[in-house]
Amino acid sequence: MRLRRFLRTSAFRLTLAYTAVFGLSVLLLLGAIYWATAQNIGRAIDDTIASEIDALAQHYRTAGLAGLVRAIEGRTGPHNVNGGLYLLTDPGFRRIAGNVTAWPANADEVGSWVVFPLAGDGTEAAYGRARAFKLQGGFNLLVGRDTRALDRFQNLMAEAMTWALAGTLVLGLGGGLLVSRRVLARIDGLNRGAETIMRGDVTHRMQTNGSGDEFDRLAHTLNQMLDQIERLMTGIRTVTNNVAHDLRSPLTRIRSQLEQAVARGGSAEDLREAAAQAMAEADGLLATFNALLSIAEAEAGVAVADPVTVDLGALVEDVADLYGPVAEEKGLVMTAAAVQPGLTVQGSRELLFQALGNLVDNAIKYTPAGGTIHVEAAPGPALVVRDCGPGIPEADRARVTDRFVRLDASRTTPGNGLGLSLVAAIVRMHRARLDFADAAPGLRASIVFEG
């Protein structure tokens, strides 16, 4: 079972393919060496034979038949270590001198190369390679070499190469198996980690060994992904808890109002009053739901679906026009300006207005009476709202855009803690950035678009 699984792994298959390719290249290399060596040795022998024939022919011309016989006998004597073969015959192919017993039957053509069997010592097949030459006067001369030494050398080489090839294959396969087992073990580790997490242990993480290799990096990336998922899950849980909490209070209030109305009874006017109160509470609930839906909607969109050119100056003017009276009611001075005319961005006019409106609304809510609020379209391009309220502490700036986060723990100011979440979602949708800075005193909130 384990073996079958092992044989199916890609690591093993890769090893097999690699070993095959490597083996083939070793085979080709050794083959080339073998062929070149054999060729060279053969050619060297042939050259020696040719030059010996020339030398013996020279002997014959200068010293006659007797000189030739002497020369042959000298060469076939005890000094013949190279396995030289010589045969001199008369025109009738009868032997005159030499160490070959009979003229080979296949050496009938003068000047041709022949291979013929030798008597040998019986331990191995012996062949001679020789060249026939016709001398003046009809004498035949055969000069050759015993090829046993060459054959032995070639056999030895072939044998060595076979061993080398076998060694290559064994080492390649064995090494491959070891490597793939190691790889498999690492992957199995990741697999087991994932299974553990799937079984419900969401805090489990992949093991890293600190080596920084690919598997370590993969495990690290997976861990980061898991962290991100856990963060998101925690976020969703928090939101769900907050939704439950924030909706329970108004629902409880509605219920008790209705309960009291039912218990107390009273005139039609009293009942109408109680119903109207319940309705107002329900409207608040609906508003919270609508805000959540708007945020979800803005977050679901990766980008604005039908972007139009939005004039930021006009947007600032409109916001000031809508919220100006609200600020005045609270005794605040609101000023609006477009620092530079003609600042435009591509996006949704509605959503950007809503985002800027929410920022201004917050500014109005948190600035004490007598203060000032300034809204402007600045180069960048950016939309900036500056107030002189308490600002947002540095440490809280990152979390104020989370849903239901309200910095006043008592939750006495009106609001549902969703305003900035919607702003953040709209800003993300426009690939812009929401910055909070200290306006000393007060808060400087800006939506900065990518230039």
Binding site: N290, D306, L322, V326, E350, L351, D361
Partner: protein, 225 residues
């Protein structure tokens, strides 16, 4: 007033039907696009309330087919998701107004009434009036009981909108749309502040208030009955 409701969701459909019937409308309800088209083609309805997502024939196609057949009945689209581009698509297809679910029934009723009214009112008006309040649209002047009332441009637009819908309930969202041309639920009291300022100028020095708050719904401009 005859209203045709084309809505496949049973609960929403019967909720709208019941509410409109209580408000004195004659309501027919169908649950798919084809039946909606069939009913609407005879043109005897004052307003159509059409869901965007319908079986058979979706809301957009239904209204496009109606407009192609020269049926001009005002259409109020209902949609589960208030994507801005959804809204634009609905209006481009020939819809007259657009409402996102979930909605308060008062919002729906106010819009249906506004659509029905729009159909019957004359195309060009130069003068609007309720009781002793009159508005001259050409001279851009407002008088109450013969006394000139000085209004800011935005206040003038707000009063004009209220006068055009005199006797009807207008919601805060409708005001934000009609006067400021932004379409979303303002959620805060911004509109209320504008209304109270207008009320200061229009009603303060007079015995008869004209600008009334309708609890849980919005505002209405009418002479005291």
């Amino acid at each position: 007033m005859r209203v045709l409701v084309v809505e496949d969701d049973e609960k929403t459909g019967s909720y709208i039907e019941k509410g409109l019937a209580e408000a004195g409308c004659v309501v027919d309800r169908v649950t798919d696009g084809r039946a909606g088209l069939f009913h609407a083609t005879d043109g005897t309805y004052d307003v159509l309330v059409v869901d965007r997502m319908l079986p058979g024939l979706d809301g957009l196609a239904l209204v496009q087919a109606l407009r192609a057949a020269e049926v001009r009945t005002p259409v109020l689209f209902l949609s589960a998701l208030g994507h801005v581009d959804d809204r634009v698509k609905g209006l481009k297809a020939g819809g007259d107004d657009y409402l996102t679910k979930p909605f308060a029934f008062s919002e729906l009723l106010a819009r249906v009434e506004a659509l029905a009214r729009r159909r019957s009112e004359p195309a060009v008006q130069t003068r609007l009036a309720v009781a002793d309040l009159e508005m001259d649209l050409i001279e851009r002047r407002v008088k109450r009981a013969g006394r000139v009332i000085d209004l800011q441009p935005r206040e003038f637009k707000l009063l004009e909108y209220l006068l055009r819908h005199a006797g009807q309930v207008v919601t805060r969202t409708m005001l934000l749309e009609g006067v400021w041309d932004y379409h979303f639920d303002p959620q805060t009291n911004v509109i209320d502040v504008h209304i109270s300022r207008l009320r200061q100028k229009v009603d303060k020095d007079f015995d008869q208030p004209l600008l009334h708050t309708v609890r849980g719904a919005g505002y209405t401009l009418r002479a005291a009955s």
